[in-house]
Amino acid sequence: MATLRLENIVKRFHTLNEDTIKNFSLDVKSGELVVFVGPSGCGKSTLLRMIAGLEDPTSGKISLEGSDITDIRPSRRNMAMVFQSYALYPHMNVRENMAFALKLAKIAPNVITERVEKAAAMLNLTAYLETKPKHLSGGQRQRVAIGRAIVREPQLFLFDEPLSNLDAALRVQTRIEISLLHKRLKTTMIYVTHDQIEAMTLASRIVVLNNGTLEQVGTPTEIYHNPDNVFVAGFIGTPKMNFFQATLSRMENRALTLKVADQQTIEIGRDFTEVASSLKVGAPIILGVRPEHLEVISNPKATAVKNKPTLTATVDIIENLGSTSYLYGTIHSHPMANKTQSETKENAKIKEHSKIKTTSLAKENPKSIDPMLAETRTHALPGLENQISNQNAITVRLTGDPATLAGRDSVSVVLDPERVYLFNGEGKNIFSKVRS
């Protein structure tokens, strides 16, 4: 068990013009399982490799248990690493693979045997000790790789996307095994993954990385419920959080009125006193709602939902997964009133089409925008296009039987005012400012 401290780590590869890791600092407490998560190329593996010593930081300091290890060779750092491709020695059997590091460290043969057999028993590998890796299944190979790390009795375990090469069922099983292992060994572990489900299920704390910068650190619950920004909100949670571009049209202490996707107006009743100073009428807002916090209602006029914010959406497709089902739709840009459904659908399509056209036109020549569509552009949020790809798409987790929605072209979706996220023009969670 050990505490790991990363201070102002910067990594720049000479082949790249940009820093791969930009001034990263983190404290890992003893016994924690910290998960680095982020999209590919965000620098999470580079960070892990620097902790392992396989890569040198350009600047910054890494210390383990208080002593500076930045310039210490990997094998002296008292860490063990589990690689994505297992990296087992193909010409050695399971026993030799696990014992290799111990033999090099000149540990007594009886101690080696004891440790290897203990680890093999823990990982259900006793029957395979004399087998070569090529005769093992993917899951068994991964367990050997883990075993090879365990026998070294390291202060720190490093996992580099250890489940990526396994099939879906085995991934779940191995994930649970790693979790149990951590519970049993209580050793500090650092785990790198691009899979947010692994992050949520395994982590004591999650570190969300994007483009070489730390976006947020927190327990899975904190990250899920209080994402600091649009990136974290969109990255954690499946299906992804819904994002809608909106404008703040009216503000009171206990209610905000938002104009969503240019047309639909919703009122969100919630205590906004704390954040009122940071809000301005007319400011662009990104409204975020998780699919599981939305509800499809059959009768929008019913009193129970009358005062709750409601959006109307066309139904594109319903996916039935058995235990749950999801509705994928598009929120209307025009109010439904006085229009037949087919007309509305047609309109939605046209609108969608012209929007694409506007964006591409805008890129080519910002002045040549059709004045009628210019309004759409006023809400453009620079730098956030990647996170909010299609602002009108909506995903809803259905609670009831999806069959009841069969044949429906459009539905009313109710938002829970306590469970909506509001992000400002820079993509920051308006409420997270209050917490910090």
Partner: protein
Amino acid sequence: MMADYRSEKRVKLIIRAVSAWILAVLIFFPILWMTLTSFKTELQAISIPPLLIFEPTLENFTVIQERSNYFSYAFNSLFLAGFSTIIALALALPAAYAMAFFPGKHTKNLLLWMISTKMLPAVGVLVPIYLIYRNIGLLDSLVGITIIFTLINLPIVVWILYFSFKDTPKEILEACIMDGTSVFQQFIFVLLPINLGGIVSTALLSFVLAWNESFWSINLSANDAGSLATLIASYSSPEGLFWAKLSAASLLTCLPIVVLGWFCQKQIVQGLTFGAVK
């Protein structure tokens, strides 16, 4: 229709088999003729029409041993092929390791440059090398010919080993580093055992190429350091062409390497396909 298709397939198969056999016989014929000639007397060898049925004699082989001491040349061939292969491997293994696992900006260019030296006609550098060898006294010496053989095979050896190493996942080397190996231990305990197939086939190939090398050995050596190729060439002399003895010498040169090749077919093919058959 079914039957038609089936007979069509059969006809195609027969045509293919017959063409393959014709081609094989055409390729094999000179070797067969050389073997037959080596058992004839000089007179039988040049008789027209050529003799197919004759009483075989071992006279050519005994003459070769008596006049030229076959075993001395065979020893030279073995020495040259063996040592040039060992030295080439000793130089190429670290080179291929460095290029495969720690490539620089110009590694690809370097490889290309190395292989491009094989495209240079050897005769173009014969005169300078001959003069250098004469001046430093390496002409007709085993050391000198070993150096030349090493140098001409080195590019190919590095090239094949490079591709063999490149197939080894870098993560395995990183696992070694985490496990605490030195570079030397990495080589001995992990890299060599993993790539043993590739290394053995490269060594075989280098050995065969050195054994068959004739240009440099004929031009730079004579009795002392001459390989079997030199022996063959000595039977085509200004005094005349001795067909039967020439054939016998050729047979004695080909035989060992053909036997070696026969037993190591798989490894040699593997080496030539750069590990694609692994």
